[in-house]
Symmetry: C2
Subunit: 362 residues, 2 copies
């Protein structure tokens, strides 16, 4: 597999010219990983047309050498990454106007730029790296696919062990254990496990609440493989489904399938959202679908593009997005069915290969 990093860095330095920047200070950790391969939690990266500089601390000395190699000049700083940055900038000839990442720099650090960094001119930028990251290359899609495979296999291992009387926490434990056994290097986000009426809370963290017979059980979770996230939701009935449960479920399933089949590059985020939303509205449940349809996934579990009423932009080719319609009725429960879909040149390709039929655990 060709190393994509030199191409990504070259595309970024090309983007500096129209932005009239001599360099870009990269502080977003996912952007740093995308450009350099470094996966640690503490780094500053300065990209100039001449070289890439990566400053990290001694905890990562061994790791950074292995991950970054000769792609960047590496500085390991014992005290403060910022002190090292000023020193390095002073010896960087021709660097006067430097962009920084406005969505990834705390005001406290912005003040450092104005104070200790006052001899340079600082310009806020947005999404210079994120715009590249939206369009996944073949290697990235294959990592997300493997991450999706880990997640779907973990769920398949977990479901046979679920029965009434287990707590949401116990179900989370089974699921996360299976994710690790299948090779997940971490959790894409805190797992959501919600039973019964709690399934109506779109962001429920698992609790000691026990699954009862006949409950909906909603599980929203994700794996991480080679840095790339997956994000899957399935809702099952622990026992036999009631007619009302089945009816709501089928509406959500239909919305998921309609949107998964229709979503493609070139469609606006708003129009993608509308495919699922209008499906649910026509069945009279539009008021109960309170969130947007989905979001991009990659090195981060929430990244561009958004599939939402407020996004008039076209979805870029190569994006991988979630399709996650839901219907939530307070005090009763909720259903969400979420898949990860790659917007390939040949149309949408579902990466999460899992049945979407209503599953009754009996």
């Amino acid at each position: 597999m060709a190393d994509a990093r030199p191409r990504r860095l070259a595309a970024l330095t090309d983007a500096l010219i129209p932005a009239q920047l001599d360099a870009l200070l990269v502080t977003g950790l996912a952007n740093i990983r995308y450009l350099t391969g470094f996966s640690g939690s503490s780094a500053l990266v300065l990209v100039t047309p001449r070289e890439t500089l990566l400053i990290t601390d001694f905890r990562y000395e061994t790791q950074v050498a292995g991950e970054v190699g000769s792609l960047a000049r590496i500085v390991v700083e014992p005290v403060s990454l910022w002190t090292a940055l000023w020193q390095q900038l002073q010896s960087a000839s021709g660097v006067r106007v430097v962009g920084f990442e406005s969505p990834h720099l705390m005001h406290r650090d912005f003040q450092r730029l104005l104070e200790a960094g006052s001899r340079w001119q600082w310009r806020p930028t947005s999404d210079l790296v994120e715009r590249q990251r939206e369009r996944k290359d073949a290697d990235e899609v294959s990592r997300i696919k493997r991450s999706a495979d880990v997640a779907t296999r973990a769920l398949a291992r977990t479901l046979p062990a679920v029965h009434p009387g287990l707590s949401e926490l116990q179900v989370a434990g089974l699921l996360e254990h299976a994710l690790r056994d299948e090779g997940s290097e971490g959790f894409a986000f805190p797992s959501i496990v919600a039973a019964g009426a709690r399934a109506a809370l779109p962001h429920a963290q698992p609790t000691g609440h026990r699954v009862a017979a006949g409950d909906f059980l909603l599980m929203d979770f994700g794996a991480v493989v080679d840095g790339y996230c997956s994000d899957v939701t399935r809702t099952v009935v622990v026992g036999r489904a009631s007619a009302e449960q089945r009816e709501v479920y089928e509406v959500v399933r239909g919305a998921n399938e309609a949107a998964s089949a229709a979503v493609c590059a070139g469609m606006t985020g708003r129009d993608a959202d509308a495919v699922a939303r209008s499906y649910i509205e026509r069945r009279g449940l539009g008021d109960l679908f309170g969130h947007s349809l989905g979001h991009g996934i990659g090195l981060e579990v929430h990244e561009a593009p958004r599939l939402a009423r407020t996004n008039e932009q076209e979805l870029p080719p190569g994006a991988v997005v979630t399709i996650e319609p839901g219907v939530y009725r307070a005090g009763w429960g909720g259903v969400r069915i979420e898949d990860d879909v790659w917007l390939s040149a040949d149309g949408p390709r579902i990466l999460t290969e899992l049945p979407r039929d209503l599953l009754e655990l009996v």
Copy 2:
């Protein structure tokens, strides 16, 4: 148990007067949880002497009512939290100069203050809430203790199942499963599991690397109970320890025990660090203890105070801190032993009740 939140809000509004602020915009999520009880991931809080306002989005409508109750005026905003903030500020009489949290506001959002919020004066602040959070009250200490108990019980359940041939990922799966079964509502941070030479990397994420007989196995992990974190590290030998392993282990154990017994309120962070560091230096391994001794824990796994050479401040009474000396030899392995210690009025109290003797899993 008395509700601590009104006292915390009152202490904060008292602190606004010397800072010459009419209000404080709180954006740090742990600070929001500390002041209001809200545990969601999306909120803006405005604290004035007259009232506390909490703005969140529809996903948290049910949750926020249950967690915050009548303590704050709650606004659920469908589109943008910031739009709601401007509307609310316009009707807040007497609010002209507003502080914001410089370490918890992205530059992008700072620009919103200067643009859409230009009719108010904005002043950066630091640590107004964090300073309160350093001194834990009895209820907080009891939550951290329960979190520590969950972590220590999870480790006790995990160790008998560890044997050569398991991968680091599989060990992480066992440990995290046990954490959930013991009631952990989440993971305080991504678990570190590192075997053999990988134990020399202070921040190793678990991989498919398999534990071999005679390896050091370092496990650094934490529970979350009622929002409060614990943070524990134990290093065991999977098999019989060599003389060299035992020698290094005993140095780290001695440093941990010396520091855990000596650390107390009123000592500077530097002096606390020096207790362990000088112990290790006297045994000739000072160069191999590359990080600082510890950090505060609470609602966040890393918070004030720091036990580090660079912290000349006195440790406050009531703080709960980690004591985590380590010795790392690249290519060979490493040992870290970490406990959580409460700086009580009667001196240090270790909350992580786990043996520190070298454990050989045979």
